[in-house]
């Protein structure tokens, strides 16, 4: 992506992801049954994505105490930025790979729900990688 792209994990980056996911033909085929509240933890920051029918229906930065969600993907900013490289190094190509081989990264919460929606979430993260981590 170009230097004008918003930088991960700013809200504008997630807004762009929302548009890309909504426009994706494959998500249109496979996402219909994917409903999940998914939080991305990036160092100390938290962003909650409300996924409905395979689309990002809501983006909640720093959800308050009244918010609940199913799954948290927790990593350092460095983990996420490495993951979002167009061609990531070994062990950073996939959320499951990072969960398995990157000690600072983990899948937390309702992990079975993550597995249940793996196909659609895998596509969402493929699209996120096409977006890249943005410029400084």
């Amino acid at each position: 992506m170009t230097a004008s792209q918003p930088r991960f994990p700013r809200r504008e980056w997630f807004e762009t992801l929302r548009e890309v996911v909504a426009a994706d033909a494959e998500m249109g085929v496979i996402g219909r049954w994917c409903d999940l509240d998914l939080a991305l933890a990036v160092d100390d920051e938290l962003v909650l994505l409300l996924v409905r029918a395979g689309r990002i229906a809501g983006i909640v930065p720093e959800p308050d105490l009244g918010a609940s969600w199913g799954v948290t993907l927790r990593g350092t900013l460095e983990d996420w930025r490495t993951f979002l490289q167009p061609v990531p190094p070994p062990f950073y190509t996939d959320v499951l790979a990072m969960n398995s081989r990157v000690p600072s990264f983990g899948i937390e919460g309702d992990r079975r729900a993550f597995v249940r929606h793996l196909r659609a979430l895998g596509r969402m993260f493929d699209l996120a990688r096409r977006l890249g981590a943005g410029s400084a």
Partner: protein, 287 residues
Amino acid sequence: MPEFDPITGRYVYLDTAGGRARVFFEEAGSGRPLVCLHTAGSDSRQYRHLMCDPEVTSRWRVLAFDLPHHGRSLPPEGWWEEEYLLTRDAYVGAVMAFVRAMGLERPVVLGCSMGGAVVLDLARLHGGEVGAVIGLEGASKIEGRFLDWSVMPDVDGSAVAASWTYGLMAPQSPEPSRREVWWTYSQGGPGIYRGDTYFYSVDWDLRGREGEIDTRRCPVYLLTGEYDYACTARESEATADAIPGAKFRKMEGIGHFPMAENYPRFREYLIPVLEELEQGETGLRNA
């Protein structure tokens, strides 16, 4: 004239520990036999590119069979009353039953993932009958892969097994090939991927016994993709280091399914091994 693939497929009957099995195999080429073993939960279609490579098939008779429960090899009668858990003995037995039934003389056995693991025990236990082994993405022990999610009723085991293994591939591998791996994985029977991982993640453990392999009798080659996170190149290298005479190479820009996800890249590593084996065989004949 119709355009044919050079691969032909048919069935052979094998006597295995699970009973008499009608097993599907594909083959192409002529020459020294090269028997190819598919990965957990998949089938022999993974080797279709290798079987269409004239540089290989002009000198090798390439054969790949579907283990019972996989691809076009049906499970034995009574499968519905028995949890499928592949053991080392059953796996080694099935491979040797195929080798013997087909009358293959000192074949080279090439296996990937669980196939890359079992070839080490084929070398250890049947080094007289097996001429050499090439293990892809194999090591003395692969931990943490035997999991229950694929048989949970709220999980679509076919799609999830395919998506679970999709991430094992290198991002550089061509997308159509990676999608094909996804497709073939989605066609495994319920619980079969899980039951296969039982072999290499629970039942089998070569650690401490690597030295029992005599590579003068049965040469051992281990090739592992740098992007494989289930069996890392470092793990395969450690296994090769523990087997006197074994050879190891890390494959750059390749993941867990070399022959299927990026055959053009994989053959850069495979062809030199096959050539070395051919030279070794010539040397043995002339000795």
